[in-house]
Amino acid sequence: MKAETRNAVAAGAVLLALCAVPFITGKFTAYLTIRIMLLGIFAVGYNLLLGQTGLLSFGHGAFYAAGAYGLGLFGVHVSTHPLLGVAVGVAAAVLLALLVGYLCVRHTEIYFAMLTLACGMMVFSLVWNAREITGGDDGLIGIVRAPITLFGLADIPIARENHFYFFVLFFFALSVWAAHRIRRSPFGLALAGIRENARRSEFAGVPVRRYRLAAFVLSGAFAGLAGALEALLESNARPFMAHWTHSAEPVLVSLLGGLSSLTGPLVGGAIFVAMREIIQRFTENWMLWFGILLLVIILGFRGGVVGTVSALFRKATAPGEG
């Protein structure tokens, strides 16, 4: 299939470019790339819920925070093994997503958005107030990037920036591949059906609420993974990860890039991080210009940047093509 190989080649090229970044660019660009990859994991997972299943959540920062605090507390109290920490972080996010999701998926549209916002802010104030455990608003400090010990045989250090870069790159590639496969899988098609027409999905025999919960928990897992990795990157976890303004970031990023494609949220994430940094270099009033940029993209690129650009290039549209 021509389109399939074309995408695979493009993905391979991007992966190679990402591998080269730490060698050919400065340390700060490598750091920004890590931030873009973290936001990419968060947003590509989130878009499984918004773009694929059609549910707008404003509480996914809570699962991001669950991942970060899960890893952090595990590291401080049990073991600092990064892979175990990430696993615990993702597990914590999945559990929290299961609880919040079970409550929220009975609603849709604005009520689902408001309910997830309320749940997210509950987690935020819980983390803020549980000072003894989470360190309150100072954040959970003392998270260390210990080397990965593989069954005592080898120690892979990830403390240094370059090594940690590949640690994140591995999870980023894994996440994008997983999201791609999910979108292409029977499960992905069922989710798309729910987005397009939830009532008809029920009449097709799809237990809609259970699938929505599955998509919710899945996107929560991606958020937890991104949170755990940020905790390792910045050596701390902060209540503001659960704040609704942070939960709004994957929404903004997916819309910027384009909801209906796999790469939309990734491109949106790159724009979000890079443009904020570039604007800050020219002016202190970065919020003004960033706001104006958002307006241009919302009104100018109606289907998001990727949606509009790919529409321009694609002559014969292969329907349903990513």
């Binding site: 958005a113 003004l288 958002l294 919302i298």
Partner: protein
């Protein structure tokens, strides 16, 4: 006894204050179906404009209160007419994103025009001062706010229920296409309602100047969340719900802060989640 009365009074004044902000938000959502994040910015702009009229043009407080919000209506007009109008047909996230962009822009503009530092308004001559209630002073202005709240509610009720104009607004909020097919110039009506909602938000800002006694860039961001909570609990789109919701939240948080020290926004978000779970349309909202 004294503490109970003062807690209730404090709750009423803060509740009515949130109602003033939530009223514009709810009206706009009810008619246009748009959840306007930037409503907090219009509140902030209302405060800054009234402050400017008060301080620099030497006009009295009341002139500030009336002229200030008018300036903000121009901003509201521009936002709806040239930007929001293009996203009505788009899905909910796009509308939220558009209003979110304006929050960033207005916060930064205020800092550029009025500077980053906190501004303190001159104290009120008329309606200033306090009167002792049960041995403790209570600001006269807060009593005025407790009175203004219901007055605005009555004004809105009268406008929507009694006037011909109100009937058109209610008609197009329940069925946009039908109203349009009956010859209602819906786009113009939407602009009018949005500007009126903005005026309400700006009025809230103007009234806030003596109440909060402080103006800082981004001051709208904390009040908009409280207004959201109230709008949701009262029932999205229902003005009556927003009014009652504001009273409940105001008095509840006043009691919470006074008698349950562990009280926090956490309890208010539990209430919000509870209402959404058990009765999504809120206390008075129309059933979904």
């Amino acid at each position: 006894m004294q503490s109970y009365v003062h807690v209730i009074l404090a709750g009423l004044s803060s509740g009515m204050f949130i109602w003033l902000v939530a009223s514009g938000l709810t009206l706009i959502f009810g008619v246009l179906g748009v959840l306007n994040f930037a409503h907090g910015s219009f509140y902030m702009l209302g405060a800054y404009c009234s402050f400017t009229v008060l301080k620099y043009l030497g006009a009295g407080y009341w002139a500030g209160l009336l002229l200030g919000p008018v300036g903000v209506c121009a901003a509201g007009f521009v936002v709806e007419r040239f930007f929001l109008r293009h996203v009505y047909r788009l899905a909910l996230p796009y509308q939220l994103l558009l209003t979110f962009a304006f929050v960033l822009i207005f916060d930064n503009l205020v800092k550029i025009v009025w500077g980053g530092g906190a501004l303190s308004p001159p104290t009120l001559s008329f309606l200033g001062g306090t009167i002792p209630i049960l041995g403790r002073n209570f600001p006269v202005y807060n009593l005025f706010i407790i009175a203004v709240g219901p007055a605005v509610a009555l004004l809105l009720w009268a406008l929507l229920e009694k006037t011909w104009y109100g009937r058109i607004i209610r008609a197009s909020s329940s069925d946009r296409e039908m109203a349009a097919s009956l010859g209602v110039r819906v786009p113009a009506l939407f602009t009018g309602v949005f500007v009126f909602g903005t005026w309400l938000g700006a009025l809230g800002g103007g009234l806030a100047v003596p109440y909060v006694g402080l103006l800082t860039p981004g001051m709208g961001e904390t009040i908009i969340i409280e207004a959201f909570i109230v709008a949701v609990i009262g029932g999205l789109g229902s003005l009556k719900g927003a009014f009652v919701g504001a009273l409940v939240i105001g008095v509840l948080s006043a009691f919470g802060t006074r008698f349950f020290p562990a009280f926090d926004m956490f309890l208010i978000f539990i209430l919000m989640a509870g209402v959404l779970l058990l009765r999504p349309q809120g206390l008075f909202g129309a059933a979904r």
